[in-house]
Subunit: 202 residues, 2 copies
DNA sequence: TCTCTTACTGACTTGCTGGTCAGCAAGTAT
DNA sequence: ATACTTGCTGACCAGCAAGTCAGTAAGAGA
C-alpha cells in the first residue's frame, strides 16, 4: 500500500510554484491572490512555498522575471537575425511580434506592473533595464538603419520609439479593462504600422 | 471656552470624503488605501465615513463617478461647439484636450480601472457607457464629417477610433510605471496626430 | 433654558492572511 | 536494516484592516 504522501523534488519546485503564481496573479492580480492559493495550485503546502521564497513580494519578483526574461531573449534574437531592409523587417517579423503581445503573458505582466509599480520601485528598475530601455533602443537603432539606408527620412519618430508601441499598449489595456468587448487588435496594429511607415518613408 | 469638537455638516461630508479618497487612491491605489486614512484625510472619523458609504467598494465607485462625470461633460461640450472644419477641430481643441489628459485626474482613473476592473464589472460597464463608448462614438462621428466634407478619405481609422487615443494611453501608462523617467508626451501626441492626418487626408 | 433629534466619535469585534516552526517521513548512505 | 539528512507538512500565531455600535454632544426647536 502506502502511496508516498509527497515526493521530494527540490529541482522542480521553484518553477512549479512560479508558474502556479503566474496563473493566479493573471486571474486575480497580485494583491488579491492569497499565498495559500498559489501553494494549493502548485500542489504544495504553504510552508514549502516559504522555503523557496522569503516573502510574497519576492515570489512576485521571481514570477515577473521568469516571464519577462525568455520574452526579451526572443525579441533580441528576432532583432539580430535581420538581413532584411528596415521596412521589410518592420512589416515582417516586428509586426508579427507586436501582434502576438496583446494575447501573450506579456499583457499580464503589463497589468501587474501598472498595478504594483508604485509599490515596487526596484521591480520597475529591473523592467526598465531589461525590457523597456532595450526594446526602445532596438527600435531606435532600426529606424536609424532605415535612415542610413535612405529608406526613411529623419523624423520625430526617431526620438520617440514609444509611438511604435502605442497601439500595442492600447490593445493590452483594452483587453484588461474591456475583456469582453472585442477589439480587432491585429487590424489596429497593422493600420498603425502602415501609418508610421507612410509618415517616415523618404 | 469650549471649541466645539466637531461641526455637523451633513451636506458637505460626502464630497469632502470623496475628495480625500481620490487623493489617497491616487497616491496608493485602492487596495493599499486604508479606510481610516481616508477618514483622517477628510477630518472625520471612520464611523462617519461608514454612515455615508456602506462599504469601501461603494466609496470607490462614488469616487470614480465623481471624477469622471465632469470630465465627460467637458468633452461633450468641446465636441458640440465645433463650427470648425474636421482637421482644424482635431488640430485645435481636440489636440489640446488630448494633451491635457496624461497629467489630469483622468490618468488616476485609468490606473484604478486597470487595477480594479477585473473585480468590478459593474464599474467597467459604467465607464463604458459614460466615457469610452461616448468618446469613441464622437471621434467616429468627427471622422465621418471629415469624409462627408471631402477633407478625409475613407480608411480603417473610421472603424478604429482607438488609434486616435493610443498615444494618450501610452503616455498615461508611461507616467504610471516610469513616473520619473520623463517622456515628452506633448510631442508624442502631436506627432501622432500629424501622422494620422497625413494618413487620412483625401 | 431645557429637550430632543441626529450627526458624529472611537473603541471594539471579527475575519482574514502573511509568515513561522516543530515535527514528520522520503530518500540516501552505510 | 538502521541511522541520518533534509524536503516537506499543516497547525498555529500575530497583526492588520474592514466594518459595527453604544454612547456623546452639536445645534435646532419650543
Amino acid at each position: 500500500m502506502a502511496e508516498p504522501r509527497y515526493q521530494r523534488r527540490k529541482k522542480d519546485r521553484p518553477q512549479e510554484i512560479t508558474e502556479a503564481a503566474f496563473a493566479a496573479f493573471a486571474e486575480k492580480g497580485f494583491a488579491a491572490t492569497k499565498v495559500e492559493d498559489v501553494a494549493r495550485r502548485a500542489g504544495v503546502s504553504k510552508g514549502l512555498l516559504y522555503l523557496y521564497f522569503k516573502t510574497k513580494e519576492e515570489l512576485f519578483k521571481a514570477v515577473i522575471r521568469g516571464v519577462v526574461t525568455p520574452r526579451v531573449d526572443e525579441l533580441t534574437r528576432t532583432l539580430d537575425s535581420s538581413a532584411l531592409s528596415a521596412e521589410a523587417f518592420i512589416r515582417g517579423p516586428l509586426l508579427t511580434f507586436m501582434k502576438r503581445l496583446p494575447g501573450s503573458p506579456a499583457s499580464v505582466v503589463i497589468r501587474l506592473m501598472i498595478s504594483e509599480a508604485p509599490k515596487h520601485p526596484d521591480l520597475v528598475e529591473y523592467y526598465w533595464d531589461n525590457v523597456a530601455s532595450r526594446g526602445l533602443a532596438a527600435l531606435r537603432q532600426l529606424l536609424e538603419r532605415g535612415v542610413a539606408n535612405g529608406e526613411f527620412r529623419e523624423s520625430a519618430v526617431n526620438e520617440l520609439p514609444q509611438l511604435f508601441v502605442a497601439p500595442v499598449m492600447m490593445s493590452i489595456v483594452w483587453g484588461i479593462v474591456f475583456a469582453d468587448r472585442s477589439l480587432d487588435t491585429d487590424r489596429l496594429i497593422e493600420t498603425h504600422v502602415d501609418m508610421i511607415l507612410a509618415y517616415i518613408r523618404a
